[in-house]
Symmetry: C2
Subunit: 198 residues, 2 copies
Protein backbone atom coordinates (compact mmCIF):
# COMPACT_ATOMS: atom_id res chain seq x y z
CA UNK A 1 0.00 0.00 0.00
CA UNK A 2 1.17 3.50 -0.76
CA UNK A 3 1.00 6.15 1.92
CA UNK A 4 1.73 8.96 -0.50
CA UNK A 5 0.19 10.19 -3.71
CA UNK A 6 1.59 8.51 -6.81
CA UNK A 7 3.55 11.62 -7.83
CA UNK A 8 5.20 11.87 -4.42
CA UNK A 9 5.96 8.13 -4.39
CA UNK A 10 7.52 8.38 -7.83
CA UNK A 11 9.66 11.34 -6.77
CA UNK A 12 10.82 9.53 -3.61
CA UNK A 13 11.61 6.45 -5.69
CA UNK A 14 13.70 8.42 -8.21
CA UNK A 15 15.57 10.33 -5.48
CA UNK A 16 16.37 7.20 -3.50
CA UNK A 17 18.16 5.74 -6.54
CA UNK A 18 20.88 8.37 -6.07
CA UNK A 19 23.99 7.30 -4.16
CA UNK A 20 23.95 7.92 -0.41
CA UNK A 21 20.24 8.76 -0.38
CA UNK A 22 18.13 6.22 1.50
CA UNK A 23 14.34 6.11 1.57
CA UNK A 24 14.17 8.44 4.59
CA UNK A 25 16.38 11.15 3.09
CA UNK A 26 14.52 10.77 -0.20
CA UNK A 27 11.27 11.47 1.64
CA UNK A 28 12.73 14.54 3.30
CA UNK A 29 14.10 15.80 -0.02
CA UNK A 30 10.83 15.14 -1.84
CA UNK A 31 8.78 17.18 0.63
CA UNK A 32 11.36 19.92 0.56
CA UNK A 33 11.08 20.04 -3.24
CA UNK A 34 7.27 20.19 -3.01
CA UNK A 35 7.63 23.19 -0.71
CA UNK A 36 10.10 25.02 -2.94
CA UNK A 37 8.90 27.90 -5.16
CA UNK A 38 7.84 26.67 -8.59
CA UNK A 39 10.66 28.52 -10.40
CA UNK A 40 13.29 26.96 -8.17
CA UNK A 41 11.91 23.48 -8.84
CA UNK A 42 12.04 24.19 -12.57
CA UNK A 43 15.64 25.37 -12.23
CA UNK A 44 16.63 22.19 -10.41
CA UNK A 45 14.97 19.92 -13.00
CA UNK A 46 16.45 21.98 -15.80
CA UNK A 47 19.96 21.88 -14.32
CA UNK A 48 19.73 18.09 -14.26
CA UNK A 49 18.57 17.68 -17.87
CA UNK A 50 20.78 20.31 -19.40
CA UNK A 51 23.91 19.07 -17.62
CA UNK A 52 23.24 15.59 -18.98
CA UNK A 53 22.53 16.97 -22.47
CA UNK A 54 25.38 19.43 -22.77
CA UNK A 55 28.30 18.00 -20.88
CA UNK A 56 30.67 15.91 -22.98
CA UNK A 57 34.18 14.53 -22.88
CA UNK A 58 37.04 16.86 -23.84
CA UNK A 59 38.55 15.42 -27.03
CA UNK A 60 42.04 15.89 -25.61
CA UNK A 61 41.96 14.91 -21.95
CA UNK A 62 38.48 13.38 -21.60
CA UNK A 63 37.42 15.51 -18.66
CA UNK A 64 33.74 16.45 -18.57
CA UNK A 65 33.28 19.83 -20.21
CA UNK A 66 30.80 22.01 -22.13
CA UNK A 67 33.14 22.42 -25.11
CA UNK A 68 34.84 20.16 -27.65
CA UNK A 69 38.17 20.97 -26.02
CA UNK A 70 38.20 21.91 -22.32
CA UNK A 71 39.55 25.30 -21.12
CA UNK A 72 42.65 23.65 -19.62
CA UNK A 73 43.62 21.83 -22.82
CA UNK A 74 42.88 24.99 -24.81
CA UNK A 75 45.02 27.23 -22.59
CA UNK A 76 48.50 28.21 -23.79
CA UNK A 77 49.39 29.14 -20.22
CA UNK A 78 49.47 25.46 -19.25
CA UNK A 79 52.48 23.20 -19.65
CA UNK A 80 51.34 20.68 -22.26
CA UNK A 81 54.47 18.60 -21.81
CA UNK A 82 53.32 17.43 -18.37
CA UNK A 83 50.24 15.22 -18.15
CA UNK A 84 48.68 14.26 -14.84
CA UNK A 85 46.61 11.08 -15.03
CA UNK A 86 43.56 11.05 -12.74
CA UNK A 87 40.65 8.66 -12.34
CA UNK A 88 37.86 11.22 -12.70
CA UNK A 89 36.94 14.86 -13.20
CA UNK A 90 36.50 15.40 -9.46
CA UNK A 91 40.14 14.49 -8.87
CA UNK A 92 41.10 17.00 -11.57
CA UNK A 93 39.03 19.65 -9.79
CA UNK A 94 40.78 18.85 -6.50
CA UNK A 95 44.15 19.67 -8.10
CA UNK A 96 42.79 22.76 -9.84
CA UNK A 97 41.66 24.04 -6.45
CA UNK A 98 45.26 24.04 -5.26
CA UNK A 99 46.06 26.49 -8.08
CA UNK A 100 49.62 25.16 -8.08
CA UNK A 101 49.58 22.61 -10.86
CA UNK A 102 50.28 24.07 -14.27
CA UNK A 103 50.40 21.01 -16.49
CA UNK A 104 47.45 19.36 -18.23
CA UNK A 105 45.44 16.27 -17.32
CA UNK A 106 44.22 12.97 -18.63
CA UNK A 107 41.01 11.61 -17.12
CA UNK A 108 40.72 7.81 -17.19
CA UNK A 109 37.09 7.60 -16.01
CA UNK A 110 37.76 4.66 -13.77
CA UNK A 111 40.54 2.34 -12.73
CA UNK A 112 41.48 -1.20 -13.65
CA UNK A 113 39.58 -3.59 -11.41
CA UNK A 114 39.66 -7.31 -12.26
CA UNK A 115 37.22 -7.88 -9.38
CA UNK A 116 34.61 -5.66 -11.04
CA UNK A 117 35.54 -6.81 -14.51
CA UNK A 118 37.00 -3.44 -15.50
CA UNK A 119 39.99 -3.98 -17.79
CA UNK A 120 42.43 -1.56 -19.46
CA UNK A 121 40.07 -1.21 -22.43
CA UNK A 122 37.19 -0.04 -20.25
CA UNK A 123 38.97 3.16 -19.22
CA UNK A 124 40.50 5.95 -21.35
CA UNK A 125 43.93 4.31 -21.45
CA UNK A 126 44.40 3.84 -25.21
CA UNK A 127 43.53 7.53 -25.48
CA UNK A 128 46.36 8.38 -23.08
CA UNK A 129 48.89 6.39 -25.06
CA UNK A 130 47.75 8.13 -28.26
CA UNK A 131 48.46 11.53 -26.71
CA UNK A 132 51.99 10.52 -25.78
CA UNK A 133 53.03 10.57 -29.43
CA UNK A 134 53.45 14.32 -29.03
CA UNK A 135 56.38 15.88 -27.18
CA UNK A 136 55.29 14.86 -23.66
CA UNK A 137 58.06 14.95 -21.07
CA UNK A 138 56.43 13.66 -17.91
CA UNK A 139 53.40 11.61 -16.95
CA UNK A 140 52.39 12.12 -13.30
CA UNK A 141 50.19 9.29 -12.12
CA UNK A 142 47.67 10.48 -9.60
CA UNK A 143 45.27 7.56 -9.34
CA UNK A 144 43.67 6.76 -5.99
CA UNK A 145 45.67 5.05 -3.30
CA UNK A 146 43.49 1.96 -3.53
CA UNK A 147 44.14 -1.53 -4.92
CA UNK A 148 42.51 -0.49 -8.22
CA UNK A 149 44.37 2.81 -8.35
CA UNK A 150 47.73 1.16 -7.66
CA UNK A 151 47.07 -1.56 -10.24
CA UNK A 152 46.24 1.10 -12.81
CA UNK A 153 49.34 3.10 -11.90
CA UNK A 154 51.59 0.06 -12.31
CA UNK A 155 49.96 -0.79 -15.65
CA UNK A 156 50.38 2.72 -17.02
CA UNK A 157 53.96 2.91 -15.83
CA UNK A 158 54.79 -0.33 -17.67
CA UNK A 159 53.30 1.01 -20.89
CA UNK A 160 54.73 4.52 -20.79
CA UNK A 161 58.29 4.04 -19.50
CA UNK A 162 59.47 2.10 -22.59
CA UNK A 163 58.42 5.13 -24.65
CA UNK A 164 61.22 7.07 -22.99
CA UNK A 165 58.88 9.34 -21.03
CA UNK A 166 59.46 10.12 -17.37
CA UNK A 167 56.73 8.54 -15.19
CA UNK A 168 56.16 9.72 -11.62
CA UNK A 169 53.54 9.03 -9.00
CA UNK A 170 52.28 11.38 -6.29
CA UNK A 171 53.62 10.68 -2.81
CA UNK A 172 51.79 8.59 -0.24
CA UNK A 173 52.15 9.71 3.35
CA UNK A 174 50.63 11.30 6.39
CA UNK A 175 48.04 13.99 5.56
CA UNK A 176 49.16 17.50 6.47
CA UNK A 177 47.66 18.49 9.81
CA UNK A 178 46.81 14.84 10.47
CA UNK A 179 47.31 13.37 13.90
CA UNK A 180 49.71 10.39 13.69
CA UNK A 181 47.58 8.53 16.21
CA UNK A 182 44.69 8.33 13.76
CA UNK A 183 46.68 7.40 10.67
CA UNK A 184 46.36 3.75 9.66
CA UNK A 185 49.48 1.62 9.75
CA UNK A 186 49.73 1.08 5.98
CA UNK A 187 49.87 4.85 5.48
CA UNK A 188 52.41 5.19 8.29
CA UNK A 189 54.65 2.60 6.66
CA UNK A 190 54.33 4.33 3.26
CA UNK A 191 55.23 7.63 4.90
CA UNK A 192 58.28 6.01 6.51
CA UNK A 193 59.40 4.38 3.25
CA UNK A 194 58.96 7.66 1.41
CA UNK A 195 60.88 9.72 3.98
CA UNK A 196 62.87 12.64 2.57
CA UNK A 197 66.07 14.39 3.67
CA UNK A 198 65.61 17.50 5.78
Amino acid sequence: MDYYSSHISKLIEELSRLPGIGPKSAGRLAFHILNMPKEQVAELANAITSAKENVKYCKECFTLTDDEICPICKSDRRDHKTIMVVENTRDLAAYEKTGQYHGVYHVLHGAISPMQGIGPNDIKLKELIMRLKDNVEEVIISTNSTLEGETTAAYISKLVKPMGIKVTKIASGVPVGGDLEYVDSVTLLKALQGRVDM
Copy 2:
Protein backbone atom coordinates in the same frame (compact mmCIF):
# COMPACT_ATOMS: atom_id res chain seq x y z
CA MET B 1 37.51 30.43 -10.64
CA ASP B 2 35.40 27.47 -11.66
CA TYR B 3 36.94 24.02 -11.80
CA TYR B 4 33.96 22.54 -13.59
CA SER B 5 32.08 23.29 -16.77
CA SER B 6 29.27 25.79 -16.30
CA HIS B 7 26.60 23.11 -16.63
CA ILE B 8 28.22 20.96 -13.98
CA SER B 9 28.70 23.95 -11.67
CA LYS B 10 25.06 24.91 -12.09
CA LEU B 11 23.92 21.37 -11.31
CA ILE B 12 26.13 21.20 -8.20
CA GLU B 13 24.80 24.59 -7.09
CA GLU B 14 21.17 23.53 -7.48
CA LEU B 15 21.72 20.21 -5.70
CA SER B 16 23.55 21.81 -2.79
CA ARG B 17 20.50 23.99 -2.08
CA LEU B 18 18.65 20.87 -0.95
CA PRO B 19 18.57 20.17 2.78
CA GLY B 20 21.34 17.95 4.14
CA ILE B 21 23.33 18.12 0.90
CA GLY B 22 26.62 19.96 1.24
CA PRO B 23 28.92 20.94 -1.65
CA LYS B 24 30.79 17.61 -1.49
CA SER B 25 27.69 15.42 -1.65
CA ALA B 26 26.31 17.71 -4.36
CA GLY B 27 29.46 17.06 -6.41
CA ARG B 28 29.17 13.33 -5.92
CA LEU B 29 25.49 13.40 -6.89
CA ALA B 30 26.14 15.60 -9.94
CA PHE B 31 28.75 13.24 -11.36
CA HIS B 32 26.54 10.28 -10.61
CA ILE B 33 23.73 11.95 -12.57
CA LEU B 34 26.10 12.64 -15.48
CA ASN B 35 26.93 8.93 -15.55
CA MET B 36 23.32 7.78 -15.44
CA PRO B 37 21.61 6.60 -18.67
CA LYS B 38 19.87 9.46 -20.44
CA GLU B 39 16.38 8.01 -19.90
CA GLN B 40 16.93 7.70 -16.17
CA VAL B 41 18.08 11.33 -15.96
CA ALA B 42 14.93 12.38 -17.82
CA GLU B 43 12.81 10.34 -15.42
CA LEU B 44 14.42 12.01 -12.41
CA ALA B 45 13.93 15.52 -13.81
CA ASN B 46 10.39 14.66 -14.82
CA ALA B 47 9.50 13.21 -11.41
CA ILE B 48 10.61 16.52 -9.87
CA THR B 49 8.60 18.76 -12.17
CA SER B 50 5.47 16.66 -12.32
CA ALA B 51 5.34 16.17 -8.55
CA LYS B 52 5.51 19.94 -8.11
CA GLU B 53 2.88 20.49 -10.83
CA ASN B 54 0.39 17.83 -9.85
CA VAL B 55 0.51 17.51 -6.10
CA LYS B 56 -1.98 19.70 -4.27
CA TYR B 57 -3.63 20.00 -0.86
CA CYS B 58 -6.61 17.76 -0.13
CA LYS B 59 -9.60 20.11 0.28
CA GLU B 60 -10.67 18.23 3.40
CA CYS B 61 -7.56 17.42 5.41
CA PHE B 62 -4.86 19.39 3.56
CA THR B 63 -2.50 16.46 3.08
CA LEU B 64 -0.51 16.49 -0.17
CA THR B 65 -2.34 14.45 -2.77
CA ASP B 66 -2.92 14.03 -6.52
CA ASP B 67 -6.69 14.48 -6.23
CA GLU B 68 -9.07 17.18 -5.02
CA ILE B 69 -9.97 14.97 -2.06
CA CYS B 70 -7.37 12.47 -0.82
CA PRO B 71 -8.07 8.70 -0.76
CA ILE B 72 -8.32 8.70 3.06
CA CYS B 73 -10.92 11.48 3.20
CA LYS B 74 -12.79 9.85 0.32
CA SER B 75 -12.90 6.42 1.95
CA ASP B 76 -16.11 5.32 3.68
CA ARG B 77 -14.13 2.67 5.54
CA ARG B 78 -12.50 5.36 7.70
CA ASP B 79 -14.02 6.79 10.85
CA HIS B 80 -14.72 10.41 9.93
CA LYS B 81 -15.70 11.27 13.51
CA THR B 82 -12.10 10.96 14.67
CA ILE B 83 -9.55 13.47 13.36
CA MET B 84 -5.84 13.15 14.08
CA VAL B 85 -3.97 16.45 13.80
CA VAL B 86 -0.41 16.13 12.45
CA GLU B 87 2.21 18.69 11.47
CA ASN B 88 2.90 17.32 8.00
CA THR B 89 2.17 14.62 5.43
CA ARG B 90 5.17 12.58 6.52
CA ASP B 91 3.70 12.22 10.01
CA LEU B 92 0.45 11.08 8.42
CA ALA B 93 2.37 8.49 6.41
CA ALA B 94 4.07 7.26 9.59
CA TYR B 95 0.66 6.50 11.12
CA GLU B 96 -0.65 4.96 7.91
CA LYS B 97 2.29 2.57 7.96
CA THR B 98 1.09 1.18 11.28
CA GLY B 99 -2.17 0.20 9.53
CA GLN B 100 -3.92 0.49 12.90
CA TYR B 101 -5.40 3.97 12.78
CA HIS B 102 -8.80 4.10 11.14
CA GLY B 103 -9.81 7.72 11.63
CA VAL B 104 -9.02 10.61 9.30
CA TYR B 105 -6.35 13.33 9.55
CA HIS B 106 -5.82 17.04 9.50
CA VAL B 107 -2.44 18.27 8.29
CA LEU B 108 -1.37 21.63 9.74
CA HIS B 109 1.72 22.12 7.54
CA GLY B 110 3.78 23.45 10.38
CA ALA B 111 3.54 24.31 14.05
CA ILE B 112 3.15 27.56 15.95
CA SER B 113 6.61 29.03 16.55
CA PRO B 114 6.83 32.58 17.91
CA MET B 115 10.63 32.32 17.55
CA GLN B 116 10.33 31.79 13.80
CA GLY B 117 7.40 34.16 13.48
CA ILE B 118 4.93 31.38 12.66
CA GLY B 119 1.56 32.19 14.20
CA PRO B 120 -1.77 30.31 14.26
CA ASN B 121 -2.76 31.91 10.97
CA ASP B 122 0.30 30.58 9.19
CA ILE B 123 -0.74 26.95 9.57
CA LYS B 124 -3.97 25.17 8.55
CA LEU B 125 -5.66 25.81 11.90
CA LYS B 126 -8.72 27.83 10.81
CA GLU B 127 -9.34 25.00 8.35
CA LEU B 128 -9.35 22.49 11.23
CA ILE B 129 -11.89 24.53 13.20
CA MET B 130 -14.09 24.77 10.11
CA ARG B 131 -14.17 20.97 9.81
CA LEU B 132 -15.28 20.59 13.42
CA LYS B 133 -18.72 21.96 12.58
CA ASP B 134 -19.59 18.47 11.40
CA ASN B 135 -20.26 15.61 13.79
CA VAL B 136 -16.68 15.13 14.96
CA GLU B 137 -16.34 13.23 18.24
CA GLU B 138 -12.63 13.26 18.97
CA VAL B 139 -9.58 15.28 17.96
CA ILE B 140 -6.32 13.41 18.58
CA ILE B 141 -3.39 15.82 18.67
CA SER B 142 -0.26 14.22 17.29
CA THR B 143 2.09 17.19 16.86
CA ASN B 144 5.79 16.70 17.50
CA SER B 145 7.10 16.47 21.03
CA THR B 146 8.99 19.78 20.62
CA LEU B 147 8.40 23.23 22.06
CA GLU B 148 6.56 24.22 18.86
CA GLY B 149 4.54 21.02 18.76
CA GLU B 150 3.51 21.33 22.40
CA THR B 151 2.58 25.01 21.96
CA THR B 152 0.44 24.09 18.97
CA ALA B 153 -1.18 21.22 20.90
CA ALA B 154 -2.07 23.50 23.81
CA TYR B 155 -3.46 26.14 21.45
CA ILE B 156 -5.66 23.66 19.58
CA SER B 157 -6.89 22.11 22.82
CA LYS B 158 -7.98 25.54 24.09
CA LEU B 159 -9.91 26.20 20.87
CA VAL B 160 -11.53 22.81 20.45
CA LYS B 161 -12.52 21.80 23.99
CA PRO B 162 -15.12 24.61 24.39
CA MET B 163 -16.84 23.19 21.29
CA GLY B 164 -17.70 20.10 23.36
CA ILE B 165 -15.38 17.83 21.38
CA LYS B 166 -13.09 15.34 23.11
CA VAL B 167 -9.43 16.34 22.71
CA THR B 168 -6.65 13.82 23.32
CA LYS B 169 -2.92 13.83 22.78
CA ILE B 170 -0.68 10.88 21.93
CA ALA B 171 1.38 9.54 24.84
CA SER B 172 4.95 10.59 25.53
CA GLY B 173 7.19 7.86 26.88
CA VAL B 174 10.02 5.46 26.35
CA PRO B 175 10.26 4.14 22.76
CA VAL B 176 9.40 0.46 22.44
CA GLY B 177 12.59 -1.59 22.34
CA GLY B 178 14.50 1.41 23.62
CA ASP B 179 17.21 0.97 26.21
CA LEU B 180 16.38 3.07 29.30
CA GLU B 181 20.03 3.98 29.65
CA TYR B 182 19.94 5.97 26.42
CA VAL B 183 16.62 7.73 26.97
CA ASP B 184 16.94 11.41 27.95
CA SER B 185 15.68 12.43 31.38
CA VAL B 186 12.78 14.58 30.11
CA THR B 187 11.38 11.56 28.28
CA LEU B 188 11.95 9.37 31.34
CA LEU B 189 10.01 11.80 33.51
CA LYS B 190 7.18 11.98 30.96
CA ALA B 191 7.08 8.20 30.89
CA LEU B 192 6.89 8.10 34.69
CA GLN B 193 4.13 10.72 34.84
CA GLY B 194 2.17 8.87 32.19
CA ARG B 195 2.48 5.47 33.85
CA VAL B 196 -0.50 3.14 33.41
CA ASP B 197 -1.98 0.37 35.56
CA MET B 198 -0.90 -3.14 34.74
